[in-house]
Amino acid sequence: MTLPQLFFAYFAVSITGLSLLVVTRKNPVHGVLWMLVLFVHIAMLYLFLNAEFLAAIQIIIYAGAILVLFLFVVMLLNLRVEETERRFQWSWPVGLVAAGGYAVSLIFILVKITVFPQPGHYTIEKMQTEGNLMIIGKVLYTKYLLPFEITSLILLVAIIGAVVLTKKKQE
């Protein structure tokens, strides 16, 4: 087994394990914290895939912003009772079976994929010479300008929405 494969094995095992920890923790705070660890692992996996930019925003946005938001909410709601109660729904076995089904089906699909499109021209060498951030920036502002703009709109809506929803009603 080569070194990259060993690295990958480590990440695969730990990501799977961390995921399981995330979804099974009783205390949401613990779940969020395990999630944080998980995100760091994923960011490293991105580095492995020559996606430095993604690794960066994974840490900055996901770990830094979204998870903190989650933590805030958990703290705000101050759910003490949660720890003493059931953590799963009554129907959890069905969920388990469904999830297992998903896993089997998806793996089955993926195994079947044999034909791939022609590789594009963004080879590793090119990426390394031009720089990952540069390429993404160029593509994002040219070819994918419209989706990019829409994304900004979505974010705007989300901001306004969040403000409106959480605002206290004026009597």
Binding site: V23, F39, A51, Y62, F70, Y102, G120, G161
Partner: protein
């Protein structure tokens, strides 16, 4: 080299764990967290495709997914807060407002 399929399988497994969490947990915050987990699993496969197919589109997609995830988390948690103000519960199986 690590074969592409390894990444994909990892992605599939993590996605399924996300689904598992989504379907099993009662706490709505954990449900949201499971959704994030699913999104991340997809991100892994997108990034892997991008790398192996030497195409930048995959990374762009990840970028977009992350922004959408951010928006989703913000709105979702805001709804949760607003809801909690009226009904002090966030148990997924106790909320039945959809019932006519």
């Amino acid at each position: 080299m690590v074969p592409l399929s390894w990444y994909i399988m990892l992605s599939a497994v993590v996605f399924s764990i996300g689904v598992l969490g989504f379907l099993m947990r009662r706490n709505l915050i954990m449900v949201f967290l499971s959704i994030e987990l699913m999104l991340n699993s997809i991100n892994i496969s997108l990034a892997a495709f991008s790398h192996y197919l030497q195409s930048i589109t995959g990374q762009i997609m990840v970028f977009l997914v992350i922004t959408v995830a951010a928006a989703e988390a913000a709105i979702g948690l805001a709804i949760l807060m607003a809801f909690y103000k009226n009904n002090p519960t966030i148990k997924a199986d106790e909320i039945n407002l959809l019932k006519g």
